[in-house]
């Protein structure tokens, strides 16, 4: 076998190679485990002893040459390939990725608020939407047939005289306090229902978050501090807050809480009705009668509770002007959050 002839043939083969893949085929053909070089090396032993040395050298030289050829060709192809690829890629084309889904804005606001209170040490608890009249009213010191119930117009169920759709998340206070002993630090997000005529700011179903803290020495000033932290975290560090006396049957003293208008920063605009303040929360110290109903000693324990409407907060945060948008679930709306 003429080594030179072989070398020529190989050089021809290599010249025709235009891709890395084809190069690999050629490499295997000549340099592979069962390739030509291996075959030639195998024949050395069959030669007469005096020819072995010279032939062995020749085969070795061929092998080294081939390795060099392949390496050179490989480098050349790699560079060429890169240049080609780089020239053809238009980086202005859209990237390739999974299209994203979205969490409902109400869920996002609930998550944000729960996270803030989680960090302060509050646990999250949910309760049923079908409630007893007792948990929704009586247990919360709201007498039946009293004007204080007018604020809580309620859906009742047919066939079940004592069951209703909860009109606020406060019944979970009663449930939690009956199930656990103090100290308690709990936050309750959830759906609530009121038979309100539907318009841009009223719906018959909406979401609330209720929070309460019960321990041996909880003060009204703690309520102010806690909600102050909350407001700054949700609405920004420069948010101002004011507490106005109000009435809720289940808290005493009670307060309504305004934040400085996030649109006009308190100067007065159409969103805050030129007042510079936005009402966002109801709160107060848990009424001793509520403690009595759940079997806590009001002499030993004090606590505060607060509640807020999620839709209202989401509307303020995101600048949404119609509450109905939340439940229309138009994808063009949902995808914005």
């Amino acid at each position: 076998m003429d080594i030179n002839l072989i070398q020529e043939k190989i050089e021809n083969d290599l010249a025709g190679v235009v891709s890395l893949r084809a190069l690999e085929e050629v490499r295997v053909k000549y340099l592979g485990r069962k390739g030509l070089v291996a075959e030639l090396t195998g024949t050395i032993a069959t030669l007469p002893v005096e020819q072995r040395g010279a032939f062995g050298k020749e085969v070795n030289a061929l092998k080294n040459k081939l390795l060099n050829f392949v390496e050179e060709k490989e480098n050349l192809l790699k560079t060429k390939d890169n240049v080609l690829k780089q020239n053809n890629l238009d980086i202005g084309m859209p990237g390739i990725a999974q299209k994203p889904g979205s969490l409902h804005p109400i869920t996002q606001v609930i998550n944000e608020i729960c996270t803030i209170f989680n960090r302060m040490g509050f646990s999250v608890l949910q309760g049923p939407e079908v409630e007893t009249e007792y948990n929704n009213f009586t247990g919360l010191n709201i007498p039946l047939e009293h004007p204080s119930r007018d604020a809580f117009d309620t859906f009742y169920l047919k066939k079940y005289s004592k069951l209703l759709l909860r009109s606020h998340t406060s019944p979970v206070q009663v449930r939690a306090m009956k199930a656990h002993k103090p100290p308690l630090a709990i936050i309750v997000p959830g759906r609530v229902y009121r038979p309100d005529a539907v318009d841009a700011s009223h719906l018959f179903m909406f979401h609330q978050i209720e929070g309460f803290l019960v321990d041996t020495n909880i003060k009204f000033s703690d309520l102010k501090g806690t909600l102050g932290l909350f407001a700054k975290n949700v609405f920004g560090q420069d948010t101002k807050m004011r507490f106005r006396p109000h009435f809720f049957p289940f808290t005493e003293p009670s307060a309504e809480i305004d934040i400085s208008c996030i649109i006009c920063k308190g100067r007065g605009c159409s969103v805050c009705g030129r007042k510079g303040w936005l009402e966002i929360l109801g709160a107060g110290m848990i009424h001793p009668n509520v403690f009595k109903h759940v079997g806590y000693d009001p002499k030993k324990y004090t606590g505060f509770a607060f509640g807020m409407g999620i839709e209202r907060i989401a509307m303020l945060k995101y600048g949404i002007n119609d509450i109905r948008l939340f439940f229309e679930n138009d994808l063009r709306f949902l995808k914005q959050f």
Binding site: Q98, K99, P100, G101, L103, H104, T107, C114, M120, G121, F122, S123, L125, Q126, V130, E145, H146, P147, S148, A151, F155, L157, K158, Y160, L165, H180, P182, P183, A185, R191, Y193, P195, D196, F204, M205, K219, F220, S221, K224, G225, T226, G228, L229, R242, F243, R244, P245, H246, F247, E252, P253, S254, M285, P288, F327, E328, N329, D330, L331, K335
Partner: protein, 676 residues
């Protein structure tokens, strides 16, 4: 409640500018919702909370202003009228049940002249939004606004038998009220009746037959206390809103009832002449006060303040609560009968805080002790939402209350019947939904209608059903898909049409992520697949049929939906993780490509492979699936990728080849596959 600046001045020497007063009232709990200037006066519109009926009067608000500004109230109590005792009251009064009407008084004024009111009176009423009628009616309204006690004047000569009887209405009794409407009554409603018929609906509105007219000469002036619950029930039943009912429902005080009668009589004598011809009352006469002991330390402990005992005493006294310091620095507070909201020491704490100023109370951060257990009941649901969102689905929130027709058109059978709402405002609120997915289909249809091409949505919410004597409420997850491109990278398994496999893919991903052991999808009938979790049925997948789709007005679209019981799902979650060592020795992969009858289940096929090759096989997966020209009708083409590996050493070809061949031949025997 509206009040004018000038009227307040009748009771208090006001120096404070109206705008500043409005701000102070708001910060004391009387939220001024508007302040308007009108013809040299100022009108405050105040939102009164339901616990403070005493604020539904100019006097009540003046009392508050006095406490806020620290100024004395001018004595508001009218003097007792001197009656000519000889004259007898020419009427008989009776109250059937004292519980319905704890106090009733009638004052007779004779020989009066009904006519227009003087300008000052008209103006005061007009500023408060009350129309002037005649001097007598105007005076009763004037006193209502000033003292918060509703009064009523009857034309004495039109009272049959000159009798007044406070009683429940008889069934189907009727009355025409002064607004000209005929109203049907029943025994739940309290009325004022004469000898034979109702002449007024107690506390709500007078009757047309006995109203004061220009020809009226003699009147009976009623001032009473009615049971608030009865007034409330009557008001709701008859849909009758009135200034008078509003106050009775919240509760009036005996002291106001007594004072108002005198005050009105005095005005009538002045403005309509006439003379008083007697006064008679039934029921409670003694005004009772209530004593509360208040420890100033309790006030400061509750509020986190250090307000002095002197300051506390001063605040309470300015509110009209007579306060004395008893032994050991305890305050004894006398609560007047117009403050029925004050029952416990905590109620006085609020009074102190209100007037002291909530703004002056500092802000402290409590040391939160989370209790024995820290929990977040949203946990699994939150994770599921995030996972689905990551898969390209959009979360929606739909109403839990739905119309019956939505359930009907989704072809859901509810054996126990649906949970119905007693008082829906519209048909959209008829029932609590027994299933979640119909709401999603509706939402999907809405979005398709808005020219959205791909609608892939989910919701986690509660569904409701009757169970025994109660309502069962359980959280479920529902998914509805119409369109794939937005969330699934093309896998070559299924072309553009949405199919149950896309839905299955999402659920499998979710179940694997939650490390649920043992889930399965079992065909129940044509287009329904049951989802099995831990050997129990936990939900279903649906390929919506044409009939359902057209009932939702969905055209030329395929829609698939799933619903999974979240409670069951959460019960199967197993998030314990355990490390398995990474394989040290290489695996050998062998593919089998073959055609097989269409009706053979891939699941069975894979199970057969696993069974046969168990000791060496690590996984067997469908690598390709095809149907088309090359494949005869009734068959499908499959490529199964089998991975063989041992943990303790490298497998050799000699070991794998016979095993793989055994697999192929067993498939040939059991399923009649034809290798390609």
């Amino acid at each position: 409640m509206k009040v004018t600046y000038s009227w307040l001045k009748d009771f208090i020497n006001l120096k404070i500018p109206p705008a500043e007063l409005a701000e102070k009232l708001t910060m004391a709990g009387l939220e001024v919702v508007s302040l308007a200037e009108l013809r040299g006066d100022f009108i405050f519109e105040i939102e009164i909370t339901s616990n403070r009926p005493d604020w539904l009067s100019v006097l009540g608000i003046a009392r508050e202003v006095s406490a806020i500004c620290g100024k004395k109230l001018k004595n508001p109590n009218p003097k007792e009228l001197k009656l000519k005792t000889k004259e007898l009251l020419p009427v008989t009064l009776s109250v059937m049940d004292k519980k319905d009407c704890p106090f009733y008084s009638g004052r007779v004024i004779c020989d009066l002249r009904v006519g227009p009111s003087p300008e000052w009176l008209k103006k005061r009423l007009e500023f408060l939004g009350c129309r002037s009628v005649n001097n007598i009616v105007d005076i009763t309204n004037y006193v209502l606004f000033e003292l918060g006690q509703p009064l009523h004047a009857f034309d004495l000569d039109k009272l049959g038998g000159r009798q007044i009887c406070v009683r429940r209405a008889k069934l189907n009794e009727k009355i025409v009220t002064i607004d000209g409407q005929q109203r049907l009554l029943d025994p739940e409603i309290l009325v004022i009746a004469d000898k034979d018929k109702p002449v007024a609906i107690a506390g709500l509105m007078g009757g047309e037959g006995t109203e004061v007219t220009p020809s009226t000469r003699n009147i009976l002036l009623e001032s009473a206390v009615f049971n608030p619950i009865l007034i409330r029930r009557g008001r709701r039943k008859l849909g009758l809103q009135s200034e008078s009912g509003y106050r009775f429902e919240r509760g009036v005080s005996l002291s106001a009832a007594l004072g108002a009668s005198l005050s009105a009589a005095e005005l009538i004598l002045n403005l309509a002449s006439g003379k008083t011809c007697g006064y008679k009352s039934l029921g409670a006469h003694k005004i009772t006060n209530y004593l509360i002991n208040l420890d100033p330390a309790y006030v400061n402990r509750t509020l986190g303040t250090s307000i002095s005992i002197i300051k506390i005493k001063q605040i309470l006294s300015n509110l009209g609560l007579e306060t004395k310091v008893k032994a050991k620095n305890i305050l004894s507070v006398k609560v007047p009968d117009f403050r029925k909201d004050l029952k416990l020491p905590i109620d006085l704490v609020e009074e102190v805080a209100r007037i002291y100023g909530y703004e002056k109370i500092s802000r402290t951060i409590p040391a939160v002790r989370p209790g024995e257990k820290m929990f977040d009941t949203r946990d699994p649901a939150c994770g599921i939402k995030n996972t689905l969102c990551g898969l390209g689905l959009h979360e929606v929130i739909t109403y839990s209350l739905v119309d019956r027709s939505l359930i009907d058109k989704s072809m859901i059978k509810t054996d126990a019947g649906m949970v119905e709402i007693l008082n829906p405002l519209s048909r959209e609120q008829e029932v609590l939904r027994p299933k979640l997915f119909p709401s999603l289909i509706r939402c999907l249809a809405y979005n398709l209608d808005q020219q959205q091409e791909y609608v892939n949505i989910f919701e986690i919410a509660n569904v409701f059903s009757n169970k025994g004597n109660s309502v069962q409420e359980e959280p479920v997850l529902a998914i509805a898909l119409s369109g794939v491109n937005s969330f699934l990278v093309k896998q070559g398994l299924v072309k553009d049409d949405i199919s149950l496999l896309h839905l299955k893919g999402i659920l499998e991903f979710l179940f694997n992520k939650l490390r649920i052991n043992g889930f399965d999808f079992v065909r129940q009938d044509g287009n329904k697949i049951n989802i099995i979790l831990g050997q129990k049925e936990a939900g279903f997948m649906l390929d919506l049929n044409q009939q359902t789709l057209s009932s939702f007005d969905i055209k030329n679209r395929q829609v698939v939906a799933a619903e999974v019981n979240l409670k069951q799902l959460c019960g199967c979650i197993n998030l314990e993780k355990k490390f398995l060592s990474i394989p040290k020795y290489p695996a050998i992969t062998r593919d089998i490509s073959f055609i097989i009858k269409q009706d053979v289940s891939v699941k069975e096929l894979l199970m057969a492979i696993e069974e046969k090759a168990a000791p060496l096989l690590r996984s067997a997966k469908i690598a390709d699936y095809y149907q088309g020209k090359q494949i005869p009708a009734g068959f499908k083409g499959l490529t199964v990728s089998c991975v063989y590996r041992l943990d303790e050493r490298t497998l050799t070809e000699e070991e794998v080849t016979p095993m793989h061949e055994a697999v192929c031949s067993s498939l040939r025997e059991r399923f009649g596959i034809k290798l390609r």
